[in-house]
């Protein structure tokens, strides 16, 4: 089997690179070992920097709408995070004074959204808050199994019954200028978000829940569909088992499902993610990139990987695959000519050039795709 480019990992960075290359007419395959960290996505492309307009256009073509606006995102624990590009689900505030009065609405029995944390934080900034619960008979079945009162299951019910909840909230609402809801709307169709905003008598902020992330799942599905509509091949639930590397060039890979049917390509992109996705793996003494054995810098003493203060910056989050200026992955000190590393597998090793987090995932994806297409980095 032969492709122009094979991408290992089907998360945010892999899909962005894949779509970018398919749009340029390249033949691309993505090998994805299960779903990815998009399912934990807050909806905020932090550190997106100069790639803001470009990613907004790429996402718009996939049916994913974004807000290009500088400001702050209200987080699930009541803190604020800077934003310059977000999914349309996210309400961006100019400063931490988000409201005079806020109505925080949750669903009875939903334990993955903590109104009290949000209320405490907003009250510190001078707001008054009320927390109220809504309940629909149509959701009663979710409570049969307490472990399944989860964001996605509620979102499915909301796809059908969001208007009833909006009706209940209109009754609960008094004189608040902000209504805060969990992100459990628009799983199937994000158009519901605008309809809710229009139907309620105050500004609406959808705030993140515990995983899985409803906006993240919707975005993942739309990006994957876009990649496939452009002619890309997405191998879901498969895993790369070996790579043929000879004199600094990768010629082919094998996968668990396709075994003897090798996949050949001119270029390879490693977007296998961080520790969660097993793009990086630790043993008691080492941090390893398991597929190619790429170079990673980490302190010899394991105690130096952590900070005992749980909330402090954790050094292990910085560890990642070493790359040259153009993101060629480095093994035994030498760059591999046709292998690019992008996204979380880099850790924070390229912070100065590409930032961190989701913004970094996208900016490195563009950079690698552009090098492959022969454009500018």
């Amino acid at each position: 089997m032969r492709f122009d480019t094979v991408i290992i990992g089907g998360g945010l960075s892999g899909l962005t690179a894949g779509i970018s290359l398919q749009e340029a007419g390249r033949k691309v395959a993505i090998v994805s070992a299960g779903q990815n960290a998009m399912h934990f996505f807050s909806g905020n492309f932090e550190d997106i920097g100069p790639a803001r307009d470009r990613v907004a256009a790429l996402f718009a073509a996939a049916g994913v709408r974004t807000n290009a606006m500088d400001g702050l995102q209200l987080m699930p624990m009541g803190s604020f995070r800077p934003a310059s590009l977000t999914l349309e689900d996210v309400t961006v505030f100019p400063d931490e004074h988000a409201a005079e009065k806020a109505l925080i609405v949750n669903f009875t029995g939903f334990h993955d959204f903590y109104g009290t944390f949000i209320a405490e934080a907003l009250e510190k900034a001078g707001a008054t808050c009320r927390i109220r619960f809504v309940h629909l008979p149509e959701m009663e079945h979710l409570r049969l199994s307490p472990s399944e009162m989860r964001s996605v299951n509620i979102a499915r019910a909301m796809d059908e019954h969001w208007e009833k909840v909006v009706g209940d909230i209109r009754i609960l609402h008094k004189d608040e200028d902000l209504i805060i809801l969990p992100q459990v709307f628009g799983l199937r169709d994000a158009a519901v978000l605008d309809k809710i905003r229009t139907a309620l008598p105050a500004r609406v902020a959808f705030v993140g829940t515990m995983p899985p992330s409803v906006p993240g799942i919707r975005t993942q599905m739309l990006l994957k569909r876009r990649f496939e509509v452009l002619g890309g091949t997405f191998l879901m639930g498969d895993e790369v088992t070996s790579a043929a590397l000879h004199e600094g060039v990768v010629s082919s890979i094998t996968t668990r499902n396709l075994d003897t049917a090798r996949i050949f390509a001119d270029h390879f992109i490693l977007s296998s993610g961080g520790y969660f996705s097993k793009g990086l793996v630790t043993t008691p003494t080492q941090v390893i990139e398991p597929l190619f054995g790429l170079d990673i810098a980490f302190p010899e003493n394991r105690n130096d990987w952590y900070d005992a203060d749980f909330f402090a910056h954790q050094p292990y989050m910085d560890f990642g695959v070493k790359t040259d200026a153009e993101l060629h992955a480095i093994k035994d000190g030498q760059p591999i000519q046709n292998l690019f590393a992008i996204g979380s597998v880099l850790g924070n090793t390229r912070k100065e050039d590409f930032g961190t987090a989701a913004g970094m995932a996208i900016r490195t994806a563009f950079a690698a795709a552009d090098t492959i297409k022969g454009g500018n980095v």
Partner: protein, 405 residues
């Protein structure tokens, strides 16, 4: 300090980190509130069951065993295998007569075959459907698959001599469906293989792969069939033959379920069991053989990937083959379960859930409005034809009609 360096647990269940992604993609959860979902039924429940089998929940029977949880799991947990193993180990529900009938595909087939026209006529009658619904709880909306008057095995045995003339040979695991219900698929397969210069042999007596037996709790019979089949497959492999199949579910069962669930060692034969589409695609891609297609062939095809093919990860071979045919306009349908899941959808208690699961797929097919749907699975074919009105063809049958006679 003593550290446990690697986790090792049955079906990888200790790798679960409770992300709930499996539940988000389970086709049963949105339609059946009695099903606790793959995370709870699988790794979470397993922890409790290991403490005390009392915690086994009969609601695990609502699992379709579609394996979609395994396909999406970021941690490589074999969620569906955990659930099926728990049903085998702790479940005490005895299969009812109806379940035994539905599961015994080869027995029922050999019983019905001699009287095929009569059986087909009777099972198609409204009154029969009402009786089956009332007495056996087989849903009245379902039409029983038609039985063929002459089995595929008999058809191929009569042609054994002409097949033996080809220098290159393969063995064919046809499965119950081709043998009793739809021999035409087997004939199409033989036509395509012959066009590639390859003769087709039967195995030395195959039995039902056992997938329906597993689904209906008839584990002993399933294990017996698996042991028999591994023996028959081994004979073919020892004779230097690759064993080809046209059913994605039989293939997944013989390759994956035999060792994982039934604990039947298939190491000697596993790598030699291949879907015909994979084998043919590899032949064509390597240039070892060619197919001559009709010049005027035209078809707008929408392709549905069956769950078990998704699990095998081999859908790409079927889709690449179809795209190779000149004159084909190809649409890939979104990856969704059709809802039938073998015998599951035939049961009265599952009918509504079964149709609700398939609805997004039915709707998409209607909006694409293809000439016909392509799919590698026999039970998806029944479900999609009944629920959408579109004809469903196997990729091998499409190849057979697209090549020069």
């Amino acid at each position: 300090m003593k550290l446990q360096e690697y986790t090792a647990s049955a079906h990888n269940f200790e790798e679960c980190m409770k992300c709930t992604i499996c539940t988000a993609y389970c086709p049963v959860v949105p339609v059946n509130p009695r099903y606790p979902g793959p995370k709870q039924a699988g790794p979470d429940g397993e922890r409790l069951r290991l403490k005390d089998p009392y915690f086994f929940n009969q609601a695990l029977k609502y699992c379709l065993n579609c394996k979609r949880c395994e396909v999406v799991c970021p941690s490589g947990v074999k969620v569906a295998d955990i659930i099926q193993s728990a049903r085998m180990k702790y479940g005490n529900e005895q299969p009812r007569l109806r379940d035994r009938m539905l599961a015994s595909t080869d027995f029922m087939g050999s019983l019905a075959r001699p009287f095929a026209p009569l059986v087909n006529g009777v099972t198609g009658l409204g009154i029969t459907k009402t009786v089956l619904d009332a007495t056996f709880a087989i849903d009245r909306h379902r039409t029983f698959p038609k039985y063929s008057g002459r089995s595929f095995e008999r058809w191929l045995k009569r042609r054994a001599k002409e097949q033996a003339k080809f220098d290159k040979q393969v063995a064919y695991f046809h499965g119950c469906y081709v043998n009793y219900n739809y021999p035409q698929l087997g004939k199409d397969f033989v036509k395509v293989m012959n066009a590639l210069g390859i003769g087709v042999q039967l195995l030395d007596k195959e039995k039902c792969c056992g997938v329906a037996l597993i689904a209906n709790g008839m584990y002993k019979k399933a294990t017996k069939n698996a042991e028999h089949n591994v023996g028959a497959l081994q004979k073919a492999v020892d004779a230097g033959l690759t064993v080809l199949t046209t059913s994605s579910t039989c293939t997944m069962t013989m390759r994956e379920e035999y060792p994982e669930l039934l604990k039947v060692d298939n190491a000697g034969v596993r790598d030699s069991i291949l879907l015909a589409t994979r084998y043919i695609w590899q032949l064509l891609e390597s240039g070892a053989a060619t197919l001559k297609f009709k010049e005027n062939y035209r078809a707008r095809i929408a392709y549905h990937t069956p769950c078990h093919l998704e699990r095998l990860g081999w859908g790409i071979f079927s889709t690449e083959l179809l795209k190779m045919i000149p004159g084909v306009e190809f649409t890939m349908l979104d990856s969704n379960c059709c809802g039938i899941s073998g015998t599951y959808g035939f049961k009265k208690e599952n009918y509504e859930a079964s149709q609700a699961i398939g609805k997004p797929l039915f709707d998409q097919i209607k909006s694409v409005n293809p000439d016909f749907v392509a799919c590698d699975c026999e039970t998806c074919k029944w479900q999609l034809e009944m629920s959408t009105g579109y004809t469903v063809k196997h990729p091998i049958s499409i190849l057979a009609e697209a090549i020069e006679d």
